[in-house]
Symmetry: C2
Subunit: 327 residues, 2 copies
């Protein structure tokens, strides 16, 4: 790697400062980190990887990329009700990642470490001749009785979703120039693209749903596919009201001008909203938790006995969607 | 990915069975794993990645590759005195990884999970158009007063190394056909190559050194470079006796026929032996710990005040080696 920093220089200059405030990271100078786990808490451990040209566009701003990488992992912690604790970072970088790229990447991590109170404790830095591969292993902590899982949905439960669906998938298509009639308002354009680039892990809401939601997960692959995971894990079915799916004002406007995009809002990925179920008598508590967390929560259907997802409202396009997979 | 299994099918068929015996893995069916940490223990967390054509040869047997991936991470746990607990696996695979490849890869993991008592608890599986990138985040547990670090070496301490150095670097060069006079004995050839492909994490020795060694790490990048890490972290120097560096009979024979390979035994990587320091009066206890662990430990020098690594014995080639870096 002529003309480039070696692994130790890269780590020392760009990554070690990210571990400075965490004694257990041992200054990234040992074979691993050594930390006392939060007492009385269960550890939640998740890992998500991102590949250049698969999960993000080539040339993506490294600071924003770093933040998204961290946030998609934080979203998994949120979906299990856990508070962020620590993470490791593995980067397989190619020649496109020069010092300026690394500095910006580290700055993005630093910003979101502060925003979400999570600490870098270790990692590995390797080279590849192919697309960049980035992965984070994030650890969180949760009281055992507040852990959220996918397998507790019961027939009759209300199905809820946080925030707004479809924004990110629409933003991605805007970035790729695939939308026939893009937004006339620059703020709508910017909002949708931002929702693709910088998801908001719903940590406060996830934590508040512990002991309240019967099942939860984050919507990373699209509502329909992800709801299917909850249904399979809980051995239940679901009926959703297509008309109730929450769309942002920017998404509504864009879809009005591009009706073919409607299904993207239901089946597109990268939303990182929370999808969860709760007993109907707890609707008030759910709304209160969402209010406290500063994010809307919208009831979009109910859990049914049996299996499969059916739809009411909307255009009947649901039959086509139900079989979708993002692969 | 036409004609190939989707992510969920891959996980379900090949990886979920690896998590079967671990309730906290939640059947790999949730957003993450949820485990109660071992009570009263400190967690040791490490991550190591391997890239096709960088860290292993293209076409490497997937079962052996899987085992090496796990073992290089286990070696980091060993170097900190920790007992294996759980790991996550992230794979960025290309079209070369078909079902047969995946089945063999999972079989290798399964074998070593059993051998080293560690459980798969989660991961991510993504696609890349470039070289395969594999990474493991391994977690171990250690009593706080038994944690091994790199920063406690004191002037006068004896420097020890487990096992034999240089075998792996010699094995790699044999595999690449770079040795002018390869071994005449097939068993020597097989032994050296095996040492490259399947390192032995010195977990029992690492655990036994807790409270006894003043500093420790694993030799992954070569003795000289890695000893430099201990020296820097401990603010000490080192003097090593080149003639004392333990070479296996196969390495001795090969070097005798290829004198240019001598320096590889001192500076080559991939050994995954333990390099550690201990007070000289504890030599007997170190020898006893090594005997109990079933691996030799050899004193190769002593820690000095000041900085830098000097050498006695050998050919004086040390001056050239001291400045080496593997990058």
């Amino acid at each position: 790697m002529s003309g480039r920093l070696g692994e130790f220089e890269r780590i020392g200059r760009f990554l070690r400062p990210l571990a400075d405030g965490t004694p257990g990271a041992l200054g990234l100078g040992d074979d691993g980190a050594a930390l006392d786990p939060p007492p009385g808490q269960r550890l939640v451990i998740t890992t998500d990887a991102m590949v250049e040209s698969v999960h993000y566009l080539p040339g993506e701003r490294p600071d924003r990329l770093a933040r998204k990488l961290l946030r998609v992992n934080l979203s998994d912690l949120a979906a299990m009700g856990a508070r962020p604790w620590a993470y490791t970072l593995t980067t397989a970088l190619n020649e496109g990642a020069d010092e300026a790229w690394l500095a910006a990447f580290a700055e993005g991590l630093s910003d979101d470490q502060a925003a979400f109170e999570i600490a870098l404790i270790g990692g590995d830095s390797v080279s590849t001749s192919g697309p960049v591969v980035l992965s984070v292993c994030a650890m969180g902590a949760v009281a055992p009785d507040r852990l959220l899982r996918r397998n507790g949905a019961r027939p009759g439960d209300t199905i809820w979703v946080s925030g707004w669906l479809g924004d990110a998938a629409l933003g991605l298509r805007l970035e790729k120039g695939e939308v026939a009639h893009p937004p006339q308002e620059a703020t709508d354009h910017a909002y949708l693209c931002e929702r693709f680039h910088l998801p908001s892990p719903r940590l406060a809401l996830g934590a508040a749903l512990g002991g309240l939601a019967t099942a939860a997960m984050d919507v990373s692959d699209g509502l329909i596919g992800d709801l299917g995971h909850i249904c399979r894990q809980s051995s239940v079915g679901a009926e959703i009201d297509l008309g109730a799916i929450p769309l942002s004002p920017a998404a509504r406007t864009l879809i009005a001008g591009n009706p073919a995009l409607q299904r993207i809002a239901w089946a597109g990925g990268d939303d990182y909203e929370l999808l969860f179920t709760a007993a109907p008598e707890h609707a008030g508590r759910v709304a209160g938790a969402a209010g406290d967390a500063g994010v809307p929560a919208t009831p979009i259907g109910r859990v049914t006995a049996g299996e499969g997802i059916s739809a009411v409202g909307g255009s009947g396009e649901m039959q086509a969607l139900a079989g979708w997979s993002h692969f």
